[in-house]
Amino acid sequence: MKAKPRFPWPALRQLDGDPLGTGAAVQSHKTQAWTARTTDAKVVKSVCPFCAVGCGQKIFVKDERIIQIEGDEESPISRGRLCPKGAATRALTQSPLREYRVKYRRPYGTAWEELPLDRAMDMIADRVIKTRRETWVADHEGKPVNHVAGIASLGGATLDNEENYLMKKLYCALGIVQVENQARL
């Protein structure tokens, strides 16, 4: 690290080898102390959430907050590089438009309402059970079918394998067959 300047004042520092005051002499204390904010951050290894190239990412965390996401140079696929979307991953997760609360619109309602998460989960479970019962198909052309005609789902291509697995498993158990994702679109 840089040797401590002998004089505190920039004007005096100019006497010390930087007579024109364009180099060491004009560095502010802040500049002298300025270094990458990631140096003392925790590094968490991750993967880019956008396209399917699968670029390695390093997430830098300080005080339980993400302060930077950049490429993982150890990745054999991406070699530390990222595209503009990948480079904006931190901004994605901290977007000014991100929502952190459940929003509820009642039938024929004209505005969003608040709804506690627990209550929302309960209501969704009730609706699944009800629609399952009401649209249950026991057989089709004389053959047993046992599926739900009235519930469908779209989603999965941006989700984790483990999530897709639980979705498919639960939907199958409920008899929901209209399960689709972006791979088709």
Partner: protein, 273 residues
């Protein structure tokens, strides 16, 4: 050259750091490898925590950020060369522009507050805590790189990720660049690499030429060099950039001579009296 000029060059300024002086670092941006993805623009904004610069469709090909300025420190220029005719015969040139980190930096010369400094890496950095936004540097830059940061009341431009360099990291744009169009390294080594690359692509790319590698040019060569595929002005780069303070030493010398004559005249007058 005079002693004075020697004092303002990148080498002399870095030397003020004494034992802390580092190799002069810079960029070589090879546009034969650029795919115009703008990862550099975003990676730069992410690292340097720069805000967006307006949501406006320009119609300038795929360029909607227009220019380098206080909040856009990497900027990709797009040039469509189709002469109104069919695809397949034309070219689409892309170039990621950035501060040149000149050997003789106009911005640094004219900064009245000492906000702009030559770092130990030979790069030119605006210290945000010192800058008062007077804007002299904006007109002092022959490349039009610097702009106001209105929210902060300062000016801004590429620092070559001074903070990352101090931590042994490469600049954010060079790290992100998917195709290695932006290369980071020691300026001497990059200049050599640029020359070799030019030689290698002769015949493969029409109009290939280097920009910023000539140490005899009006800014003494730049720390950010480019391999272009057409004349610099096609990319909006000045073909013959000259540091506005180039004649400053002569002016100082002339002023010095004038002052000496004046003193001599006064002395002579006094003696006569």
């Amino acid at each position: 050259m005079s002693t004075f000029i020697d004092l303002t060059g990148a080498a002399a300024q870095s030397a003020t750091y004494g034992a802390d002086e580092q190799q002069r670092m810079g960029f070589f941006t090879d546009t034969t490898l650029c795919i115009g993805c703008k990862a550099c623009e975003v990676a730069c904004k992410e690292w340097n925590e720069l805000p967006e610069d307006g949501y406006e469709f320009t119609g300038w090909s795929y360029d909607n950020t227009r220019e380098l300025n206080g909040n856009t420190w990497r900027h990709v220029t797009f040039v469509e060369q189709f002469s109104g005719r069919s695809a397949g015969t034309g070219r689409w040139l892309m170039e990621s522009d950035v501060c040149k980190h000149c050997t003789h930096a106009g911005c640094l010369d004219v900064c009245p507050t000492g906000a702009i400094m030559r770092s130990e890496f030979g790069t030119v950095v605006i210290q945000q805590d010192v800058c008062n936004g007077c804007g002299y540097c904006i007109v002092g830059c022959p490349f039009g790189v610097i702009g106001l940061k209105e929210a902060e009341g300062t000016t801004g431009k590429c620092t070559l990720c001074y903070d990352r360099l101090k931590a042994g990291e490469e600049p954010a744009c060079a790290k992100a660049c998917p195709t290695d169009s932006i290369q980071f390294g020691a300026v001497d080594e990059l200049r050599e690499r640029a020359e070799k690359r030019l030689e290698a692509v002769q015949g493969r790319f029409d109009g290939a030429q280097l920009y910023g590698t000539d140490t005899g040019d009006g800014v003494g060569g730049t720390g950010s060099m480019f391999l272009l595929l057409d004349k610099p002005e096609v990319y909006g780069l000045p073909p013959d950039p000259i540091v506005p303070t180039k004649d400053l030493p002569q002016m100082w010398r002339a002023a010095g001579v004038g002052a000496a004559l004046l003193v001599a005249a006064c002395v002579a007058a006094a003696v006569r009296a």
